[in-house]
């Protein structure tokens, strides 16, 4: 997160004579040396590959042969190709499933759990958090079976007399997208719940007391004490889950591979496909660059929104 790197205020250096200047400079550099190992790794494994990918995005290249200069053509393709453009839209739509719904669920669940002393607390926590520790490929595989034409979901529908509704959910143009999205909700809810629950513990009990004295019910307590008190935790949950939504790949790839048509295509799957089957590495890098810039922009906006007012 952007505001974790805190730079201490530094007094303006007073020029007090030539002889002392070099020593001052060395002194100022010392803290930097401590960050050097981390910085080296960060540059080598994050910054350099990102720049390299940015560079490739200006070329027509199949990954093996000789590249030819493309200028901004790849970016033009990203914004004009309907399939690629819609994939970006789908990723943003996933924010509802990966962030908005899980945070709402998590808030309610955490408030309920915190208000009532449950004996089975460790068990509830484990069950809710379980999806988070499973490999997403396995998760996708299981949900794919669940939604298949002869899968359990249709069996349930038939059992309750809604047999007419049964279908191959992942092959349906209307339902495939929400069916894939709901997996995101299932995965993210546990994480949001745990984050928010730990946050509730930190809220000053005096605030609840004050609210009760003022005659607030449980619902208003929730709205006016719990939710504002969880601002930081909500920010963390939103940051983590929004990134997961925008970078989604595994669940979609396993469940639908972007189909039917392009109705569940997301940038992650499109980038993979452009690189490995289409041999359009330049276009893939352009899409990746656009996605990373958009993600940074969303993170910036999120930070502004949730920053505590001074």
């Amino acid at each position: 997160m952007a505001d974790t790197a805190i730079r201490p205020a530094r007094p303006v250096a007073q020029p007090t004579g030539r002889a002392r200047k070099p020593r001052r400079r060395t002194a100022r550099l010392v803290p930097l040396f401590y960050t050097l190992p981390a910085l080296l790794f960060y540059v080598a494994f994050v910054i350099a590959p990102w720049l390299h990918s940015l560079w490739i995005s200006f070329w027509n290249w199949n990954g093996i042969g000789t590249a030819t200069w493309a200028g901004l053509d790849n970016y033009r393709t990203v914004f004009t190709d309907p399939a690629l453009r819609s994939s970006i839209g789908h990723a943003f739509g996933f924010i509802v499933f990966y962030s908005v719904i899980p945070i709402c669920f998590g808030l309610v669940l955490a408030a309920l759990v915190a208000a009532i002393p449950w004996k089975a607390m460790p068990f509830i926590r484990t069950v809710l958090f379980l999806p988070q520790i499973l490999p997403l490929v396995a998760v996708g595989g299981v949900w794919k079976l669940f939604f298949s034409d002869d899968g359990p979901f249709n069996d349930i529908l038939t059992a309750v007399g809604l047999g007419d509704w049964s279908r191959a959910w992942l092959g349906d143009f209307t339902w495939a997208y929400p069916a894939v999205g709901i997996v995101g909700t299932w995965v993210s809810t546990g994480l949001c719940f745990l984050l928010l629950l730990s946050g509730i513990g930190k809220i000053d009990p005096a605030l609840y007391e004050a609210a009760r004295v003022e005659g607030c019910g449980r619902v208003r307590e929730f709205w006016y004490v719990t939710v504002p008190g969880l601002r930081r935790e909500i920010a963390v949950a939103a940051t983590v889950t929004v990134i997961a939504a925008l970078a989604s790949f595994d669940v979609v790839y396993v469940m639908t591979a972007g189909g039917p048509g392009e109705s569940t295509m997301v940038p992650g799957v499109a980038i993979y496909r452009l690189t490995f089957t289409a041999g359009q590495v330049g276009t893939a890098c352009a899409l990746a660059t656009v996605l990373s810039v958009l993600t940074c922009a969303v993170m910036y906006g999120l930070n502004r929104l949730t920053r505590e007012k001074p």
Binding site: R28, L29, L32, L39, V43, I47, A48, L51, H52, W55, I56, W59, W61, N62, G63, I64, G65, T66, A67, T68, W69, A83, S148, D149, R167, A168, W169, L170, G171, D172, F173, G258, G259, P260, G261, E262, R273, F276, T277, A278, G279, V281
Partner: protein, 433 residues
Amino acid sequence: MKIAKLTAGAAVAALALSACAPGSSQDKPATKPGGTVQTGVPEGNVELDLIATPESGAAMKEIIPAFEAKYPNVKVKYVDTSYEDYNKSLNLALASDTSPDIALLNVVGTSVKDGLVLNLQPYAEAYGWESAYPTGQLNQWRVAADGTTLGSGDLYAAPASFSQVGLYYNKAKLAKLGVEAPTTFEELEASLAKAKEAGETPLQLGNKEGHAAFPIQLIGQSTDGPASYAKWAFGEKGSSFDTAGNQKGAQALLDWGTKGYYSKDANGIDLQGAVDKFVNGDGVFFVDGSWDSKKIGDGLKADAGFMPFPGAKATAIGTSVAYAISARSENQQAAAAFLDFLRTPEAAKASFAQGFMPSDASTVTAEPGTLSADLVAAWNKVNADDGLIGFNNNATATMNDTLVAETQKLIGGKQDPAGFIKAVQDDWTKTHG
């Protein structure tokens, strides 16, 4: 500010490092064949690395020991990778320093253009492959000088065995309906209608991976005639997907869906799911390749039947399980001897046991009345009419993805036949102009 400067410095350094066209530093081995080549294997111990996919390479378990028995100084090391992963990593493997000697080639793709595979023309002439195989069987692996147009030019891969896509049918169900196996498109449609009336699933279809492209192509090529239809799949300049046959095929698929001839869930069923359903008696007809013949034959036993798709000429969609030699291989002569061994009767028998057709069907025998016998009969008919055409899915690197998405839209009612044909042709034009 220091951090900013440092980052900027690193950025400049990183850019300087990469400030050349990606891929340009690649040292490419010469692809020009060096004059005359020798047949047979060289003296001394040779180790050949061979890579393939589990399905196509299944017969290697028998072929390799037979080859090693014939040439005791040659050892062949076989590694297989799943189909999806194989196609994605093949070019990288061929370009690497640890390139295999022999590789299964599912599509030509950019392997010839990028100089990854050896030009086999000198070996084809030395071993006499051109007279040993029917012309149509080698054409799929001929690449013109531009590196992308197929069907003419030098040979880059040698076929080991072939697959054919045709029409499976359930003999018991057909007998119950009181109809003969259809021989024309009209008869097929009449049988489908009759099956629907009788409450059967007329056509088993799974289109999660785009296999509805098969019936469209089969209707298309049997209507347009194999000779002209093949040009499009080969990428010949000026060809178009907008033919009477393809229009008929796309329209038929749409109409069959409206009439309920196949499941409304087809877009959510994958190929193996459809095979399982067909084997369990769900479906009178089923369009699929010979690679599933073992599963279908074992499941339906005597009720399993197979024929070329009904039409004026017997046509099939098919390609060969073909092997290429890496341009980086140091044992090209021994590798070529292995490719030549693939057309021996013992290799043909091993392939046929796995459901793949040999180049010359007379080298294998099948028990009469079995699915194997149907496969051989269909194969002979198709070859007699020169009706074997490559998969439309291989016309460009992205064509498979395009056909998957567009057939799904067609079935899902999101696209009309004209729009389907245009989308497919647009993809083709991007590569072949």
